[in-house]
């Protein structure tokens, strides 16, 4: 009992700086502001990981896709479920980890039909005694970490305009940074900062549109490869930017020294690119802003004039790398478009780029201009009919829901990947508020080699794949790597795996009851031992694409996915929290 206040004091110091000493906690979605998902714990290592085994499980009572990850703060584990977004607080000091409390917010069921791709939630953030997270129906809540009492609840998004909230917030100082999903509803994408104490909106910066809306000040906003006034509006035909999407449903990272937050934007809407001629800035991009004011400092667009639903909402991992002998403050991003990008995070300039998956929409990315060299054969649009064999598919070479990990020991990045290509037929779409603004007829096919996914180790300093563990199904979990040189991930057919971070050799695996689309974490328990926790619970896009993994509604029976007919043989829905140890 006495340890709790001491741990909390240590935490408030530790989260303020980037390379904090390992405190054994996991207080924010990606472990640290740099979003490395690297734990400095060493008890579980490549020598003993073979004896990892499950120690505890808990059914969340929720069936939707369990993306995101638990938090461990002091001696409490916090778990946020998919809609209805229940927050559980487990007491790690007691046998069986009984609940200290649970918080059941008032959240609208209407959100279920406005969320494009299952009722997911990507996690909570701990700051200053509060657990802060988002509700699917467009609210952010702050809950007292000790009592479970609701401190504030703020409406941040408008369901009636097609906005839902699935992302995990990031807290920097007094600012809670949040964004909305809705790239499939033609929203006018934005990022907001709320006051941590009150929940009041402090600033709103749009991800597209005129400079004033984007909080882009002339002279201060310096995109490395673009220039001009209001390019966030002028790079869209007519006023198509007003319904252009560019949502925020992924992850945010922060560099305290540069005082910049980094986040990716989603696809341009609708899916037919011919109605929005131009680059469509800043959809499918990374944006760098000041957390205090929201001011936009630079932006880089991975996929100009997105033709393929290549959201750039995947994690922006901050790592100090050595490239060609020189130390670089880098930002590394595995884009849905199949390329891995290493940028200078001070300027947004491209340093290294290489395909990590099968790619054919572009031949390469030009280091001088920052632009992809497009293969015109793969360009889509209503006038082009069904364009066959585009790689990667719109699930992405890496799903943005599957954040990578980076080990400063091996200097390698670890990530789940998909090996899927697609046929993409753009269709006319009508913008009608609160209904989807999509317009595509698509089909997936296995990529080269026939396997559907893999877990890979990537050298971002050189743009090379170091090793690869092939998977039978698309790989959709996040990655964890530890100072014990063990990497962890889960598979869509429900295996949780520990692999040697240097070789990729599988050290242990266990069938966790449902496909894994969540992100493992490592922590030190009150007993001083190292544990690894992960959610099982297939869902996200797979509750739609592989609808036969669902058995929750006898009035809604789905066919199997034609490219993956047997996934439902190995898994079905169901949210479970797992804790593993030695």
């Amino acid at each position: 009992m006495l340890r709790q206040p001491i741990v909390l004091i240590v935490l408030s110091c530790a989260t303020a700086s980037l390379p904090a000493a390992e405190d054994g906690q996991w207080t924010m979605p990606a472990k640290n502001y740099a979003a490395t998902r690297y734990s400095g714990l060493t008890q579980i290592n490549a020598q003993n990981a073979r004896s990892l085994h499950p120690l505890w499980t808990f059914s969340t009572g929720v069936l939707a896709g369990h993306e995101g990850q638990p938090l461990v703060v002091g001696e409490t584990m916090y778990v946020v479920t998919p809609w209805p977004n229940v927050l559980y607080a487990f007491d790690l000091r007691k046998e069986g980890y009984p609940l200290r409390w649970k918080y059941r917010p008032d959240v609208s069921s209407n959100a279920l039909g406005v969320a494009c791709c299952d009722a997911v939630n990507r996690g909570a953030f701990y700051a200053d005694g509060r657990i802060v997270y988002n509700l699917l129906d467009g609210h952010t809540v702050a809950v007292d970490a000790r009592s479970g009492r609701e401190l504030w609840k703020s409406r941040i998004a408008d369901l009636g305009s097609g906005e839902t909230v699935t992302m995990a917030p990031l807290v920097v100082g007094e600012r809670v940074i949040v964004g909305a999903s809705g790239g499939e509803f033609g929203i006018y994408g934005w990022l907001k900062a709320l006051d941590l104490k009150t929940g009041q909106t402090v600033w709103t910066g749009h991800n597209l549109g005129p400079d004033a809306d984007m909080l882009a000040r002339p002279g201060a906003f310096k995109p490395p490869y673009d220039g001009g006034v209001d390019i966030g509006a002028k790079s869209w035909a007519a006023d198509s930017w007003k319904t252009g999407g560019a949502p925020v449903w992924g992850w945010i990272s922060y560099d305290p020294e540069l005082d910049l937050i980094y986040y990716g934007t989603g696809n341009a809407a609708p899916y037919d690119p011919e109605v929005r001629a131009g680059d469509n800035k800043w959809s499918a991009s990374v944006l760098a802003r000041r957390p205090g004011t929201g001011e936009l400092l630079w932006a880089y667009q991975f996929t100009p004039h997105d033709n393929w639903d290549y959201d750039a909402t995947g994690a922006m991992v901050l790592a100090d790398l050595t490239i060609a002998g020189k130390p670089v403050k880098a930002l590394v991003h595995f884009d849905k478009n199949g390329f891995a990008y290493t940028l200078d995070r001070a300027t947004g300039k491209l340093l290294v780029v290489a395909a990590y998956a099968a790619v054919n929409w572009a031949k390469s990315v030009d280091l001088a201009t920052g632009r992809p060299v497009i293969d015109p054969v793969r360009q889509t649009g209503v006038s082009k009919g069904k364009v066959m064999g585009v790689c990667p598919s719109l699930e992405g070479g890496v799903s943005p829901t599957s954040p990578p990990a980076y080990s400063p020991r091996t200097h390698l990045f670890y990530t789940s990947t998909n090996n899927l290509c697609m046929d993409y037929g753009a269709m006319h779409a009508s913008h009608l508020r609160a209904t989807p603004y999509v317009g595509v007829d698509w089909a997936y096919h296995p990529g080269p080699g026939g396997h559907l996914g893999a877990f890979i180790a990537w050298d971002a300093a050189t743009g090379t794949k170091v090793w690869e563990d092939k998977e039978s199904y698309p790989s959709w979990s996040g990655a964890l790597v530890t100072a014990g040189d063990v990497a962890f991930y889960g598979t869509l057919d429900g295996w949780f795996k520990a692999v040697d971070a240097r070789s990729g050799a599988v050290l242990s695996k266990f069938k966790v009851g449902s496909g894994v689309v969540g992100n493992p974490i490592a922590y030190r328990g009150p007993d001083g031992r190292e544990y690894v926790a992960v959610y099982a619970g297939i869902g996200g896009d797979w509750s739609l694409i592989a609808g036969d993994t669902r058995s929750d509604d006898p009035t809604d029976v789905r066919e199997p996915a034609d490219f993956m007919k047997d996934i439902a043989r190995h898994t079905s829905q169901g949210g479970i929290v797992w804790i593993f140890g030695l």
């Binding site: 039909g113 779409a429 209904t435």
Partner: protein
Amino acid sequence: MSGRRRIPVALGLCVALACCERTAAPPAAPGSAVPPTIAYEAHVAAGGIAPAGGVLRNPHAGDAAVAKAGEQLFHAMNCDGCHNLGASGWVGPNLGDGRWRYGGADGEVFASIYYGQPKGMPAFGGVLGSDGIWTLVTYIRSLPLPADLPTESWEQP
């Protein structure tokens, strides 16, 4: 932005009251497109006594040309964005499996589209009016039912 909602005006308008065989339901306002409270055939009734309710009759039932127009409307109103092409299910349920969350009689399907339903089904009555919705109902009811639904087997026969 060229995306623009298309509401077919070529389809003849049908005043809801004309399409409705009222039993003992409260009457809708004259000239209003709002139907009366409808009876849900599949609901269980306390005491075994069903309450009075209107039964809505689809003026286009079985009309293949209207079903074809309904298929186009299903796309133009972005129904396919949630229910998928062919209404086979996406975020919204499969509408072609012969199973119904909120009732599958013509009037029940009409009510679901007109007023919307919980879990995010928007109300389309305001934007489409009665005849647009009957056109959608006609399309949905025209979908061919799959032959063998309940069993999915991975064993070799």
